[in-house]
Amino acid sequence: MTTACIRTGLGAAILAGAAVAAEAHDALTTSVNWSRTVSRIVYERCASCHRDGGTAFSLTTYAEARPWAVAIREEIFARTMPPWGAVKGFGEFRNDRAMYPSQINLMVSWIEGGAPEGDPEDLPEPPEYPEENAPAAETVRVVRNGATLESPVVIDGLFPRDVPDGGSYQIVAELPDGRVEPLVWLYEYRNEYGHAFLLEKPLELPAGTVFRGIPAESSLDLIPPPSEPGVRD
């Protein structure tokens, strides 16, 4: 059974009789290193913003990332980075950028184990990052809290707008037959990193569906599948 999904002890092991000396530095007690493992996680989860030409300072090399190691750990624990802004398991999204527990474990193990670099020969190829475009306004239906659908709709994604920073909001769809469908649980969602949540599978919502949980001053774009003509209310 999986042990603690986030736990400081993960990077803690040393072999018997082989304790590694350290003085003013962190002890290196992990085999997780930047070149082989951590760089891949950073490329996948962080570097779309944290790169040269991105929207935040670069973390794509060991020299750039190492000084930030402790801060990275704090941000991961606080769930403020990566700024996915939603809780896993409440709705399923094909563009989910939040770290998996296994990735969190490895990042924490690396940082608490002394953040070693490893062999640069193990580095992966730096990825390329296509620009993500927000859906055009005329392709979406925009709803606010308490809004009722007057006609059925198929949605492929959601784009929260004007969400107060730092809140926790469980947004659901109440269907006319009484079912309650989880849409997205926003947590630490920040408009400056605003993005679409693209559903794993398109969702059909009948007429009469009511949206709940949207903050009063916010709205939610309902993104149709590419083939679905959209309507703006």
Binding site: G11, A13, A21, E23, G89, Y100, G213
Partner: protein, 325 residues
């Protein structure tokens, strides 16, 4: 063994108290220690960073066996994890993340009713259904179920459909509101997975649980009492907390699905879920768990111990403070 330091005693170096058992673990070829702990530091001038890294890497490259779940348990020889009894594997496993489809029926759920959950696990390479699972703690598939108010908790084991080989289970739904299920399984050829899913029973309010902060009073289970002492006494988010449990009476304890104890900690907003087993336990009445509360919030911590064939489930509500200077 005496792991527990009474609350009235002045906290001292906890590791000294667990020394004898640690020595026993070391004799098995397994040593786990805490990174950054005082014991791992030496005087100045010993080695450069590069030399230290090379030495550590050489040790791992020489052939180290890891527990795929308790990654801090390592051995120079094949064997089993003393904490969770999983077979050790050669080399640090690279994480592989599987996907899981969950179908909940009936579509319209009712408080007081039941729901059937069908699980289809898919591999990350070809999106094919996975049917081969390692046995973890005597079962191939574990499931934790929590209601949003944290008033309902279950640790259950879905059964396998003989035709599809997929897992399913019927769950009681004692109240309205949000439920979170946490699936715990280990596909053959992969790494252990912990995947959360949510569903909603109409009629309830979606709001965080009102978790208290009292963890000093003993809790009474079916046939034993559980007492908890933490170190530090006031846990700090992001820092490791040691949880010392003492059960009374201390006789008749038995492993429950492969471990002397099981623990699940859930934040009051249902966002953090941390699962673990005793860091140190030998069948005696005292057990040590390690836990890092990720965020400064209140947490409900369920523990399960078995005595004389009876599974005892109790919980403690523990606040984690923010680190301040």
């Amino acid at each position: 063994m005496r792991l527990l330091k009474r609350a009235t005693e002045k906290p001292r170096r906890r590791r000294a108290a667990v020394g004898p058992l640690m020595a026993g673990v070391a004799a098995l070829g397994l040593v786990a220690a805490c990174a950054g702990g005082d014991d791992s530091r030496a005087g100045p001038g010993a080695m450069t960073d590069a030399e230290r890294e090379a030495q550590v890497q050489a040790l791992f490259d020489a052939g180290v066996y890891f527990c795929p779940m308790d990654l801090d348990v390592r051995s120079s020889e094949p064997g089993f994890c003393p904490r969770c009894r999983m077979a050790l594997v050669m080399g640090l496993p690279e994480p592989v993340d599987y996907t899981m489809d969950v179908t909940v029926t009936p579509e319209l759920l009712e408080p007081g009713g039941t729901a059937r959950l069908d699980f289809v696990v898919r591999d990350p390479w070809e999106d094919r259904p996975v049917t081969d699972f390692e046995i973890m703690h005597e079962r191939p598939f574990h499931l934790f179920v929590m209601s949003q108010d944290l008033g309902h908790f279950a640790h259950v084991h879905p059964t396998r459909d003989s035709e599809t080989e997929n897992f399913h289970i019927d769950l009681d739904l004692p109240r309205a509101g949000l439920y979170q299920v946490l699936a715990d399984f280990y596909p053959v050829g992969g790494t252990p997975q912990l995947i959360a899913r949510s569903f909603i029973v109409p009629g309830g309010r979606l709001e965080p649980a009102a978790v208290g902060v009292d963890y000093t009073a003993p809790r009474q289970g079916e046939n034993l009492q559980v007492e908890l002492v933490t170190e530090p006494a006031e846990p700090i988010a992001g820092q490791e907390t040691e949880l010392y449990f003492t059960v009374t009476p201390g006789e008749g304890l038995e492993p429950y699905i492969g471990a002397w104890g099981h623990m699940l900690a859930v934040s009051d907003d249902l966002i953090d879920t941390v699962h673990g087993h005793p860091f140190i336990a030998d069948g005696g009445p005292e057990m040590l768990f390690h836990l890092t509360f990720p965020r400064p919030r209140n947490y409900r911590v369920w523990v399960q111990f078995q005595r004389d064939g009876v599974v005892n489930t109790v919980h403690f509500d523990i606040p984690a403070k923010e680190l301040t200077f």
